[in-house]
Symmetry: C3
Subunit: 323 residues, 3 copies
């Protein structure tokens, strides 16, 4: 039976959180711990023995009020590789429509004997509200345009793998900054680990106020290309926008799409990331997306590893000293 | 690996049913057996080692023709905690729309090697029809306004836990009696165990004919409050009603909502139940729902334990004498 | 714990495919190997110990772009009985609607660490496109009107069980040949194993061009009845037709429905198959569908066994000589 019997030991004392609500709250040490554990999990599952039953008997629930088959499945896969059971309550808007409050729905789910709720909701702060009202663990899988911490972590993990470090790097987040929870999680996480962050996009999607978060901003991708180490090409989320923030997709692509001409202006070891699903020809051309500088599919692989690490840190066995 | 190795022994000889279709059919001894086993399962899973693989290799199917994420997941969780596999055919109305009959759909599912079908359907008697046509086990998860036996069992289990007995108690079912399968299952189960049952609600939802089932009826909640031990506040199921059975939600709440004024008129050890999802401010006010007399969330926890007990009794290993 | 510990040995050297895209590609030996292994799996799961954890740690994904709860669940059940994990990405048209290409969607799924993708799509050749672009295994679960190899295999397995052989048999496929991927997979598979195949139906659904595939064709079911050993009654797929290929369902049934009058004209050991869901009264009357010559439910049971065999051949441990 191809079940890996890995002993990662107990959850380190450094970690004493019950929830992962955002990267803004975490220390550099906590982020580094998640990344280190994710590396370990990635190494184990890459051998083909993908089951590490450290959490047998635990149950994780997906509670997604915004549709995302991919992220839901990435969390479900991570939980099951750790031996946990998974349940999906994502369609349970039905109970809400039956007159029940959001907190009642969550408390009912918890009362079934659930250990962890992974929640996505269009309202910022929803995971925090759940964490205050439940005794079980809560992971924020995206709350409006606020945070999406596991996406931030998988981006940072991918950078660290390729570059060997985060400290001292210059990372540009390009595109739809205004609507992006991924941008915020990246900014907080990267800065804590010592990176310099530039947000770049049209003035309708990037504003000088972003300097309040400690980042640099730019409207001109071509200007910053020569000095960045990493480009994270955020998806234009047409579905989140009530008005068109730029005249046409063609104009956006003309100014911001990473193509081979822009690639020629970058450092020779440029790293290109993009949280999927990508719009080919909008944020990035196929030759760049599929080229050697792109780590787009590694991000997906790292996503499962990061989620395994987070779930294990939240639910795994503590050492006696902290139990 | 946190898998519990509990030996509950074989399924007792007293139990020789292949289906759970309703509480009307069961004896007091059978109901008590289910409750006793549910207590055992509840105790085991409360330790955190929530997997009891007594049914490894078995497969349970949810076949829900009415939407209910919560009940479906409660059954799925119960089956998986026993080590069984679960499949969901609830969306398979598609095959029915392709011209197949209901029995053909069920026989096809059974032919895949299924051990148990958990069925919900708006037509009373559907589970009985399945039981006659399939060789595998069938659990009624709600057939129209007829029965919902596991809901009845979890209500009774919660009462027994809090009160230590059922015999001699006076239990009032309040609200939408006419449309409630939960009411019927409670009435049959409670009476078999020796409780006195009162159904209470507006005359459009409660009629003198209910006395045929052996219960008392009342239109006035305030009149019966002083002498009941348990109040089970049924949900007003707006989605089942073609005409409005009362002038307004406000008027209903005025006459039947459990609030602190009504609470003051009850016995000092009143127990308040409500099968979720609750309409706060309609059947019950928040201060009562979240107060010390309420066992609403315990009902949910007990629901998983009751379903584990029923599934195990139907699929578990019999002792040699009966095999 | 009722987990079967069967040792089927390594995957035979004869098998060195990574995908199952159609029966047109397979040799008679490969088809026979699948059927033989399916028999073994069927025997094991018929004992009640239905879990054979040969593929623990592997993950299989359903990627269905056409709705089919039944086929999806048959594949999922087969994978889980082998101890593999399953994930369903069938709703992930959402990502496609977000602007992502089909190949990107599949590559993203694969990047999560998936071993096998089971794909259904209305466009012929889609599974082949995936197989060219992914490193993981691909099973065609139906591509337009092209192939549905596991359906062909389960039909052939059922014939072989009942008749003891395929070689020398005359098998008629009746009905909606034009729109049927099942017809094509049956034709290729049956002919490779030595059967004579007749396609039979109205001239709007059967044409002389089918002789290009090596089969005989007929418009008149009554003419061929006396000399066929097996009748496979294909479903009239109203949902695939843009125009009505015959004047009325009643006229179709008059000419092609298997009823007791037609049954009287067949060989005494006629075998009747039908890939569900069946339209009772259209392709087949209830007395024939439920009678002793019908193997309709055995087909469903064999479907799980065939899928277990295919999944195991694709993902199971190879012997050292080929590894």
């Amino acid at each position: 039976m191809a079940t890996a019997t890995v002993d990662l030991g107990p959850v380190p004392d450094l970690w004493n959180r019950r929830h992962l609500l955002g990267l803004e709250d975490l220390s550099a040490e906590e982020i580094t711990l998640i990344l280190d554990k994710a590396e370990q999990f990635k190494q184990v599952i890459s051998t083909g023995d993908r089951k590490i039953p450290l959490l047998a008997g635990k149950t994780c629930v997906n509670l997604f009020f915004e549709n995302s088959t991919r992220t839901r499945n990435s969390f479900a896969l991570a939980a099951r590789r750790l031996g946990a059971d998974t349940l999906d309550f994502s369609a349970s808007t039905s109970s809400l429509s039956k007159g029940e409050t959001f907190i009642d729905t969550a408390k009912n789910i918890e009362a079934m004997g659930i250990d962890l709720v992974v929640v996505r909701h269009r309202t910022p702060g929803t995971p925090h509200l759940l964490a205050q009202n439940l005794r079980c663990g809560v992971i924020n899988a995206g709350d409006g345009a606020h945070e999406h911490p596991t996406q931030g972590l998988l981006d940072i993990m991918t950078i660290r793998q390729r570059k060997g470090r985060i400290d001292g790097l210059t990372v540009a987040l390009v595109g739809d900054i205004a609507h992006s929870r991924t941008a915020r999680s990246n900014i907080w996480g990267l800065q804590k680990l010592g990176a310099h962050v530039i947000v770049c996009g049209p003035s309708t999607l990037v504003s000088p106020q972003w300097t309040d978060l400690g980042v640099e901003y730019s409207y001109h991708l071509d200007d910053i290309l020569p000095r960045v180490d990493v480009l994270n090409l955020l998806r234009i989320q047409f579905e989140r926008q009530t008005t068109r923030p730029f005249p046409s997709v063609r104009e956006y692509a003309h100014l911001y799409a990473m193509d081979r001409h822009r690639l020629a202006k970058t450092k020779s070891d440029i790293l290109i990331l993009a949280p999927g699903p990508i719009n080919r020809g909008v944020e990035v051309t196929p030759e760049v997306a599929d080229g050697p500088y792109s780590a787009i599919l590694e991000q997906v692989t790292n996503g499962v590893a990061v989620r395994m690490a987070v779930i294990w840190l939240l639910l795994g066995k503590k050492s006696r000293s902290t139990a």
